[in-house]
Amino acid sequence: MSEHASRRRFLQATLTLIPAVTLAPQDVFSATTEGEKTAISIPPPRSDSYTPRYFTDDEWRFIHAAAAQLIPADELGPSAVECGIPEYIDRQMQTPYAHGALWFMQGPFVTGLGPELGYQQKYTPREIYRLGIEACNAWCKAQLGQPFDKLDQGSQIKLLQQLEADTMALGEMNGSLFFAQLLGNTKEGYFADPIYGGNKDMAGWKMIGFPGARADYMDWIDHPNERYPLGPVSIDGRRS
């Protein structure tokens, strides 16, 4: 029996028994013949089927284009977009973090005292994205005639490098601050537990060999320099 047929039969057998609300959004468990609990992986929704709650259409296109360059697809693993990073970032925008609520945000905001004294801007992550994307797209349109997401790949990479190096005049928004925000969240989403919407199929973890939420190596401490035999699991019990 093919995996697909098996899955379909399982779903037909169980869906009538389980109230829909108790199903995990993408995965269900079944008992294999060995009796071991195994996740049946239903392909996650593609990023383009997710409707962003914070980002506008223009911003959403920018995030997709930039994420695809920051972590591109290659033989080591899928791209940030394939891993759901745009969805991850958009979902993060609903959290206290994105509203700056984890940071001390009282003024006066004194800048220019040196990078060692840390973040001294008044912007929250939501504002950094909003202002950063707007400024970046405005620059692209003025200099290159098109928004960022319409540029060819080489131009996009060059532009990201300029952002990172702070060599673009973006007005109010500091290019490297915006770039650090984007890159930081992209890598976070690539490596965070998939419950947050990124790291689809635990691809980020598989790329480096992190076993996820297994968090029990009582046996493998006795196997120095040997490859760990098990694949990753996520907090909600998904395997890959």
């Binding site: 972590i71 060692e116 840390g118 973040y119 490596f191 480096i208 939420a213 907090i235």
Partner: protein, 590 residues
């Protein structure tokens, strides 16, 4: 007018390690003990349960267990003339919050200190001459000796179920263990943790160089253990989620894991979470405390009368409370007068990364907070400082606290930060990069101190604490020497070597995590002109106020501070019980 509560015998401000130890040791006196903790209640079953706690984003990246900086932070400047700005995001240090404090989310490295650390100025003067100590270095002796504290280190190690290999028992030096450690009265409660592969590689290379590697003493239990309070800890399973997390295995010592299960049974002990103490209230003479004011969870101001006030908040918060309460004279760096805020110190860290050969499987996620192997040949005064010209030293070690991918996947700094190049290097580096750390002591200086900030306030309208701190040449020289040792070890290991040395001329950088080992500001000493508290950690100025924690260190040591913090707390409480409760008066005459 604040609401006034019925009086208690003892009020404990803050419930991390020192608060839990203090309460537990006083609870058999039948005194009414009330502990006030500003953060929320936290327990293993609720706050650190599996699998929810295995969440790097929520815990160590977003800082679920860290102090909410939006309400209160510190301000930082590098020099006396500069304007301080707020520490707006967690970076160089990770302040704790809630029941357990930073002791809930720490790693568990549990060291003693060297005998010479306790008589630092005298020791260096005797061995190298008084002129060896720079004029602006305000180091001083601890007013207590290692021999006096030894039983309290031993007691702490039992409570915390410390795993380790003794190297010096009653002055018998062992062929294994740390031959440099101060003499112990006995073995560690538990044998050392098993070595990770990285620890084995480090040990082999450092032994080849003639140094004696040893297991870092770990408050991560290597086997089941029942401590003297009857609390049972489970064996560590190397899950790799210590720092930033509570321990779902009940293996990492914490107030929750090691003390609270016994303490919460006691009828004369009450713990109130969500209560923020804003000041110690003084009587009309200013010579005695009458209690504390706090803000309760409903936002109401409460006056809690108490006969004895014990400050057990984190190092910085204790200093701030003293300053806000007007206890002791604030330190003035221009005149050198005053004591509160004086001798703030820290740690200085650097590292060397080694990329081991292809196909190496470090399996970095197999780790625990204190899973490490160290050498002390560059620490304390274990080498001749004469030709080197600096004071202090560093522990040199490999530590494998985990392989959490967002924050602990390594690449070399000259490698791409994004794109295909980043993917290739992060994949290679994850299994192959072995870090060697040097964590060194920081001395006290005349121009480094803590005070109240003139510009920024917390959500209750009180001034923030201001830190005036920057590196000094002594510490640059110290860390360069220690990193020299780390480089030798790295070269013996083989592979590509990357050195991350804090160079002379660089400034204290608040952005990247360094360590939460901030010390001083309410230092202990032998007279009120050089210190805030006496040898029993009793305020010189207000005898019914005691102050616990790393804020009492006259200067920092080349080790993680928690072992010394705990031993000093046990020492202090023992004398509160033996001396102070029988005769509530100054325990040291001036």
């Amino acid at each position: 007018m604040p609401i006034e509560k019925p009086s208690v015998d003892v009020v404990i401000v803050g419930f991390g390690w020192t608060g839990a130890i203090t309460a537990m040791e006083l609870v058999d006196t039948d005194l009414d003990i009330l502990a006030l903790e500003r953060g929320p209640m936290q327990d293993t079953s609720q706050t650190a349960n599996y699998p929810n706690v295995i969440d790097e984003l929520e815990y160590s990246v977003r800082g679920k267990l860290f102090q909410d900086l939006s309400k209160e932070t510190v301000t930082i400047r590098h020099s006396l003339a500069a304007t301080a700005v707020p520490y707006r995001q967690h970076g160089a240090f990770l302040l704790g919050n809630g029941v357990g404090g930073a002791g809930f989310h720490w790693n568990g490295m549990s060291w003693r200190a060297f005998e010479a650390d306790f008589r630092l100025r005298t020791h260096y003067t005797e061995r190298y001459g008084a002129a060896f100590i720079p004029g602006d270095m305000t180091i001083q002796d601890y007013p207590v000796s290692y021999a006096e504290l030894e039983p309290y280190f031993a007691k702490w190690e039992d409570v915390a179920a410390v795993s380790g290999q003794a190297g010096n028992v009653k002055n018998h030096i062992r062929p294994i263990g740390n031959r440099w450690e101060a003499p112990r009265s006995g073995e560690y409660p538990l044998p050392a943790l098993k070595d990770t592969y990285g620890a084995q590689v480090f040990a082999k290379a450092s032994a080849e160089l003639g140094w004696q590697p040893f297991a870092v003493p770990a408050a991560n239990a290597s086997a089941p253990y029942t401590n003297q309070y009857g609390v049972r800890l489970g064996p560590c399973n190397f899950c790799g989620f210590c720092e930033g997390y509570g321990c779902y295995m009940y293996s990492k010592a914490s107030p929750q894991t090691s003390i609270l299960p016994a303490l919460r049974q006691k009828k004369n002990f009450t713990l109130k979470a969500g209560t923020q103490v804003t000041r110690v209230v003084m009587d009309s003479t200013g010579g005695m405390a009458t209690g504390v004011n706090y803000i309760d969870p409903q936002g109401q101001e409460v006056f809690q009368p108490a006969k004895l006030v014990i400050l057990c908040a984190f190092q910085m918060h204790n200093v701030r409370l003293l300053l806000l309460s007007g206890i002791g004279h604030p330190y003035d760096p221009v005149t050198g007068e005053g004591v509160v805020g004086k001798n703030y110190a820290y740690h200085m860290n650097s590292s060397v990364n080694v990329r081991l050969p292809k196909n190496t499987q470090l399996n970095p996620y197999i780790g625990t907070g204190a899973a490490g192997t160290a050498i002390d040949d560059f620490n304390g005064d274990n080498f001749d400082h004469g030709p080197l010209g600096f004071i202090g030293g560093a522990s040199v070690y490999h530590l494998r606290p985990g392989g959490r991918p967002i924050q602990q996947s390594k690449t070399f700094k000259n490698e791409p930060k994004w794109g295909k190049g980043w993917k290739a290097s992060v994949q290679e580096g994850y299994q192959r990069i072995l870090p060697i750390y040097a964590q060194g002591s920081v001395m006290a200086y005349r121009n480094v101190y803590l005070s109240l900030d003139p510009n920024y306030r917390d959500t209750h309208g009180q001034p923030l604490l201001r830190m005036t701190f920057d590196w000094h040449e002594n510490e640059f020289a110290m860390i360069k020497h220690a990193i020299g040792g780390a480089q030798k070890i790295a070269r013996v290991m083989g592979g590509d070597v990357e050195v991350n040395l804090r160079e002379s001329g660089s400034h204290f950088d608040t952005r990247a995590y360094q360590s939460t080992h901030t010390t001083g500001g309410a230092i202990m000493g032998d007279n009120p002109r050089n210190s805030v508290v006496n040898r029993y950690l009793q305020s010189w100025d207000v005898p019914n106020v005691f102050v616990m924690g790393a804020c009492v260190f006259p200067q920092n040591i080349g080790y993680n501070p928690t072992g010394l913090v705990a031993a000093l707390t046990y020492w202090s409480v023992e004398h509160i019980k033996k001396l102070y409760l029988k005769n509530p008066a100054p325990l040291v005459q001036t």
